[in-house]
C-alpha cells in the first residue's frame, strides 16, 4: 500500500516537473537568438512533450503493429501474409460476422433512440432531470454495466421464480418460457449490444440535443404555417438540419463497435457465439501468446477504422476547425 502512495506522489510531482523542465530551459536557450529565429524554434519546444508522448504511445505502436503483423508468434521471423490469411480464415469468420452485426445494429439503434430522446426532451420543461437519468449509465464503467445487465438477464429454469428483471417481466406478461438471454444464440448478441446502447445513449442524446436546439425556430414555424404536420417537419426540416450531427453520432458509435471489449469480456467472454474482434485479440495475445496474429487483428481494426479517420480529417479541413 505504501508503494502505491509513493507512486501517487511521484506521479503528481512528475507531471508538472516534466513540462516545466522542458519549457523553461528551452525558453532560456532560445533567448539568445534573434526574434525571428526565436518564434520559429519556440513551437517545437512547447510541442516536444506532446510529440514525445504521442510518438511513443501512438505513432510507434502504429508502425510496430504493422511490422509485427507480418512476423511469427514470437515476432522473430517474417511469415508474409499468413497472419492475415488466418484473420480472414474460418477461425475468425464468426467473430467478424459478430462485429458486422455490432457495427450495423449498435450505431443505428443508438442514433434512433437518442434522436427520439433529444426531440422529446426538447419539448418538456424537466429536460435537465430527464437528461441526468439518461447520462447516469454513461458515467459508469462498461464492467459495471456488464455486471448490472448480467443480473438483469438472469435465467432460472422454467417454473422456478425468475430473479432476473427481464425474465420476470417476460414470463409474467407473455406466460411463456423464460429466455436464456446470454446463451440463446438467437438473442445473445442483441442482448450484449443493448447493454452498449444503454450506456451510450447519454452522450449521443447530449450531442443530438445541441443539434436540435440549433435548428432555427423560424424554419420550423415557416413549415408549420405552410401546413406541414409533425411528421413532415421532422422529415423535411429536422432530419436534414441534423444530418451532419447524426453522422457524427453514427461514426463515433461505429468506431466504438469495432473496439468493443469490456462488455463481451465480462458477460460471456466470447462464448455461445458472441466473440468479437477485440476480445479475440486479447485471447490471441494472452492465452495463446501469439504476437503475430494479435497484431494482425490490430491492423485489421486500423484498416476498418481508417475511413472514419479520413472522413473526420476531411471534415475538419473543410469546416470551421481552422
Amino acid at each position: 500500500m505504501s508503494s502505491q502512495i509513493l507512486q501517487l506522489v511521484l506521479g503528481l510531482l512528475a507531471m508538472p516537473a516534466v513540462v516545466l523542465a522542458i519549457i523553461l530551459p528551452g525558453e532560456l536557450a532560445i533567448r539568445r537568438f534573434p526574434q525571428k529565429r526565436q518564434s520559429s524554434l519556440r513551437p517545437w519546444i512547447w510541442l516536444s512533450p506532446v510529440l514525445a508522448l504521442v510518438g511513443l504511445v501512438i505513432a510507434y505502436p502504429l508502425a510496430a503493429s504493422i511490422v509485427f503483423s507480418f512476423r511469427d508468434a514470437m515476432a522473430s521471423k517474417w511469415v508474409g501474409f499468413s497472419n492475415f490469411v488466418w484473420a480472414f480464415g474460418s477461425a475468425m469468420r464468426p467473430v467478424l460476422v459478430n462485429n458486422v452485426l455490432w457495427i450495423v445494429v449498435f450505431p443505428l439503434l443508438t442514433a434512433v433512440l437518442a434522436l427520439s430522446a433529444a426531440i422529446m426532451l426538447d419539448r418538456v420543461k424537466y429536460e435537465r432531470i430527464a437528461r441526468t437519468f439518461l447520462i447516469l449509465p454513461t458515467a459508469m464503467s462498461f464492467v459495471a454495466g456488464a455486471v448490472i445487465w448480467k443480473m438483469m438477464y438472469t435465467y432460472e429454469p422454467p417454473m422456478q421464480p425468475q430473479t432476473g428483471t427481464l425474465n420476470a417481466i417476460w414470463t409474467a406478461v407473455t406466460g411463456r418460457m423464460p429466455i436464456a438471454w446470454l446463451i440463446d444464440r438467437n438473442v445473445n448478441n442483441y442482448a450484449l449490444i443493448f447493454v452498449a446502447v444503454w450506456m451510450s445513449i447519454g452522450v449521443a442524446t447530449l450531442i443530438l440535443s445541441a443539434g436540435v436546439k440549433n435548428i432555427p425556430r423560424e424554419l420550423v414555424e415557416a413549415a408549420r404555417i405552410d401546413g406541414a404536420g409533425e411528421w413532415s417537419i421532422f422529415r423535411f426540416v429536422t432530419l436534414p438540419s441534423l444530418w451532419p450531427t447524426i453522422l457524427v453520432v453514427l461514426t463515433t458509435q461505429a468506431i466504438f463497435s469495432l473496439k468493443v471489449f469490456d462488455i463481451v469480456y465480462v458477460m460471456t467472454n466470447g462464448s455461445f457465439g458472441t466473440d468479437v474482434i477485440a476480445n479475440r485479440m486479447y485471447t490471441e495475445l494472452f492465452v495463446k501468446q501469439n504476437l503475430g496474429t494479435a497484431s494482425a487483428i490490430a491492423v485489421l481494426l486500423l484498416i476498418l477504422a481508417s475511413p472514419v479517420i479520413f472522413m473526420n480529417i476531411k471534415q475538419i479541413k473543410s469546416g470551421g476547425g481552422e
Binding site: 506521479g11 506532446v50 504521442v54 430522446a117 430473479t163 428483471t165 445541441a210 469490456d262 495475445l285 476547425g321
Partner: protein
C-alpha cells in the same frame, strides 16, 4: 398539425377537438419520456437495492421484493471491502487516475497553446494528425507498448498505464482546448507581450486562468475514461495487488468468487465516484462532450 389548426381554426367545435388532440399528444409525450427514464434508471436501481440484500434473499426472489420485505444488510459491503480486495482497489484506481488526469490536462494545454497561438510550418498537418489519432483503436498500442515497457522493466508499476492513458487522450484534449485557446482575443496577449511578458508567463498567467472551465471539462472526461478503462490496466497491472476497480470487479464477475451480492457491492463502490461527479459537475461534462463532438 393540430398546432396550426388550433391557431387558425374558426369554429369552436373544431377548436375543442384539436385542443383534445393536443392534450393527448402532451400526455403521450410525458408518458414516453417517463418510460424512457424508468427503463434507463431501473438497472441502476436494481444494482443499488441488491447491494443491501442478503445472499439467501437474492437466491429466492428478485430485487424488487426488497420493497415488499425490507431486510437490509451491510455484510455485502463489508465482504467486498475486506475479503475481495476492493478497498485496496479503490486506492489503486486513485493512483492510476489522478496523475493521468493532471498529466493529460498539462500536456494537452501546452500542445494546444503551441498549435493555436503560434504560427509555424506543419501546424495544420499536426493539428489534423491529432484529429485522426483520436479515433485510433487502443488495441493497436497493446503489443508494442507491452514489449517496450517489459524491456524497460516498468510493468508492475503505474507508469506505463499513466503514459498510455495520457497518450490515448491527449490528441482529443488538444482538439478540445485548441478551439478555446484560438478564441482568446489577441489584444490581451499582445498587450502582455508589449509589457515584456515571456511566453511561459503569457501561458501561465493569461491563457490558463481564462481557461478554467474548458480545462475542467477535459479533466472530468479524462477522469471518467481512466477510472472506467479495463483493457489497459488489465494488461499492464494484472489482477493482483495493483488492480484498479474495473479489473477487480471484472475478475470477481468472471470467477463468481464471493457471490453475487458481494459483486454488486463491489460494483457499486466502483461507480459511486463517477456517478457523483457526473451529477454535480454535469455542466462541465456536457461542455466537454459537445466541444469534442460538434465541430467542423
Amino acid at each position: 398539425m393540430s398546432a396550426i389548426e388550433s391557431r387558425t381554426a374558426m369554429s369552436a367545435p373544431m377548436q375543442s377537438t384539436s385542443r383534445l388532440g393536443n392534450r393527448l399528444k402532451q400526455v403521450a409525450l410525458h408518458t414516453a419520456v417517463f418510460l424512457l427514464c424508468l427503463v434507463w434508471f431501473t438497472p441502476v436501481l436494481s444494482l443499488f437495492v441488491t447491494t443491501f440484500r442478503s445472499e439467501s434473499d437474492s437466491s429466492r426472489t428478485g430485487w424488487w421484493y426488497a420493497f415488499i420485505e425490507w431486510r437490509p444488510v451491510l455484510s455485502n459491503y463489508v465482504e467486498a471491502i475486506y475479503l475481495t480486495g476492493v478497498g485496496r482497489s479503490v486506492v489503486n484506481s486513485i493512483v492510476l487516475t489522478v496523475p493521468t488526469v493532471l498529466g493529460t490536462v498539462l500536456f494537452s494545454a501546452i500542445g494546444a497553446f503551441a498549435l493555436a497561438r503560434m504560427r509555424f510550418r506543419g501546424r495544420i498537418a499536426l493539428f489534423l494528425a491529432m484529429v485522426g489519432f483520436q479515433v485510433l483503436p487502443p488495441q493497436l498500442v497493446l503489443v508494442p507498448m507491452l514489449k517496450f515497457f517489459l524491456a524497460l522493466g516498468l510493468t508492475g508499476t503505474f507508469i506505463p498505464v499513466w503514459i498510455i492513458e495520457m497518450g490515448l487522450t491527449v490528441p482529443f484534449g488538444i482538439f478540445l482546448l485548441y478551439g478555446f485557446f484560438a478564441s482568446i482575443p489577441s489584444d490581451l496577449v499582445e498587450a502582455a507581450r508589449i509589457d515584456g511578458a515571456s511566453e511561459p508567463r503569457i501561458f501561465f498567467q493569461i491563457i490558463l486562468p481564462l481557461s478554467g472551465a474548458v480545462l475542467a471539462s477535459l479533466a472530468i472526461l479524462q477522469f471518467m475514461i481512466a477510472w472506467n478503462h479495463l483493457l489497459i490496466p488489465l494488461i499492464f497491472l494484472g489482477s493482483g495487488s495493483l488492480s484498479p476497480l474495473t479489473v477487480q470487479v471484472a475478475s470477481l464477475a468472471q470467477t463468481n468468487a464471493g457471490g453475487l451480492n458481494t459483486l454488486t457491492a463491489a460494483t457499486f463502490i466502483s461507480v459511486i465516484v463517477p456517478l457523483v461527479l457526473i451529477v454535480t459537475l454535469q455542466k462541465y461534462f456536457v461542455r466537454g462532450v459537445l466541444g469534442g463532438a460538434v465541430k467542423g
